[in-house]
Amino acid sequence: MDLLRWPIVGPFLRWRHARTSLQLLFLAAAIVVVLHGFFGPDIASANLATTLVWVHYRGLLVLALLAAGNLFCAGCPFIKARDWGRRLHAPRLKRPGWLRGKWVALVLFAAVLYTYELFDLWSLPLATTWIVLAYFVAALVVDLVFTGATFCKHLCPVGQFNFIASMMSPLELRAGDAATCASCRTADCVAGRRSPEPARPLVQRGCELGLYMPAKVGNIDCTFCLDCVQACPHDNIVLAPRVPGLELADTRRRSALGRIAQRADLVALVVLFVFGALTNAFAMVTPVRRVELWIADLIGTQSEAVILASLFATSIVAVPAVLLAAASWLMRVLTRDPRSVSALAMRYVYALVPFGFGVWLAHYGFHLLTGMLVVVPITQAAAIDIFGQALLGEPLWRWAGLRPGAVFPIQVGLLVLGTIGALGVLTVMASDDYGDDAGRAIVPWALLILLLFGAGVWVMYQPMEMRGLGIGA
């Protein structure tokens, strides 16, 4: 099955301006965010900057990843601005050697989660606006200096989140017929397609993230840009459905990535993705203040930055290290596997991705479902501010979304699905590695997954408290 051959959807996706049309939509939304962030009310719940970014963008992003794939990277307005910039100035430099892999992106991703809590970015329309503008500038500066998709592949924190989460997506771009790829001598999917004219100018770029389609496995680093579809002279790229998450167990060497279980940076990204999900959700509930105060007493400080850093260091570094090491060590004992504890941890940590995705879905889905409709009265109020009269009607402030109590079962359901997914991936991995002994082998990791599930349900059950992590607040 190939969605690129479906009626309506197929012709649209194969249209060379498909991605641009999506990007222009997001660009329009970004402009609205910037304008209302600068000129709208300073209350987060009445400003389109904070509402569209922290409620709708985050919620729709994870839903799109669940339902289809990395549509938000496909529609990235920052890269559209970068493309326009490249018409004026073509980059010449290759990325520097120190900018390899995902380490810098990992630090930036962690920094985003940390500063989000430290400065209560969700409550600050102006700060949110400056973040959006900074993103435009960063993508522009980096990719006008360095060739390829340096920003996407090595820096963008949102992109790294999308890459990990898209391992759970039901769609994947892949080579259609292997024999066709084997006979291809030009590798247009990654090198780009050139005109047959003597000068052979490039008429369609290939994958800027270096994904060579015959060797592409899964969705990591795929931005769904569809450049490969446009570039392939043999029309041999398909957008195919697949079993979500199964690629997590795939040990094949991946184009431009290698073997993911041997990539410490990708493993670290997965740890941040999973444990950052729980941390990000935990930071919104009432018990976090008791934890804050305890940490403050323990280390003798009132500095929110230090307390928060301690909390993060514990929840996304120390606790995962202990849990993963313990699960791997027990697995090694039970199976007498000759591999080291770290090798086992780096292989089996990927089984946690479905659970982490479930937590992000439960958290961002909560905010989307309970606040999806507030964009209507906020827009109505903006019209009043602009035009001095209610051109769109008096604001319907009662329009919000589902009641929080009604969303809790959905959240639990998403956590259950994520946990089942994690156990499923774990079982596939263990079956591949241990055959008939898989049942015994999975016990430590299954217990870890169930422990995380319990933690997730507990966090989602806690009453929320909308004050951020300001210990003095």
């Binding site: 719940s45 008096e394 919000a400 979304g401 009453p463 004050r467």
Partner: protein, 120 residues
């Protein structure tokens, strides 16, 4: 539950063609409790003579810091001439901003905000 809230009274003003509209709002009691209904009283005055306003459209909305959180919207009625009263119940701890928005038939509008910190 501890009863603790801080409220700041701010008079907000708006001006249209020749008219000046000011709004005052307060909570009753001064320190509302979580999950307990309380009143928000709003008075509007027009012009330099501060003429009390009757028959205005008054919206009283409680907003949390976090975007997308459902606002608390009061049903407002004019209980005495130029005194508008609505009832709110705030069900989540944290920082709330109460907005009292007054709109006259001629389109003149003004908003006043009251900050509340609701403790669990």
């Amino acid at each position: 539950m501890t009863l603790l809230a801080t409220a700041a009274l701010v008079t907000a003003c708006a001006r249209t063609s020749g008219a000046k509209l000011s709004v005052e709002a307060r909570t009753v009691p001064d320190h509302p409790a979580l999950n307990q209904p309380f009143f928000v009283e709003v008075r509007g005055h027009e012009g330099d003579e501060r003429r009390p306003i009757s028959g205005a459209r008054v919206d009283i909305i409680g907003r949390m810091d976090h975007p997308g959180m459902a606002p608390a919207v009061a049903a407002v009625s004019e209980t005495e001439p130029a005194l508008y009263r609505g009832t709110l119940t705030l069900g989540m701890a944290g920082k709330w901003t109460l907005q009292a928005a007054v709109a006259l038939p001629d389109g003149t509008r003004a908003v006043q905000q009251v900050e509340l910190e609701m403790q669990p």
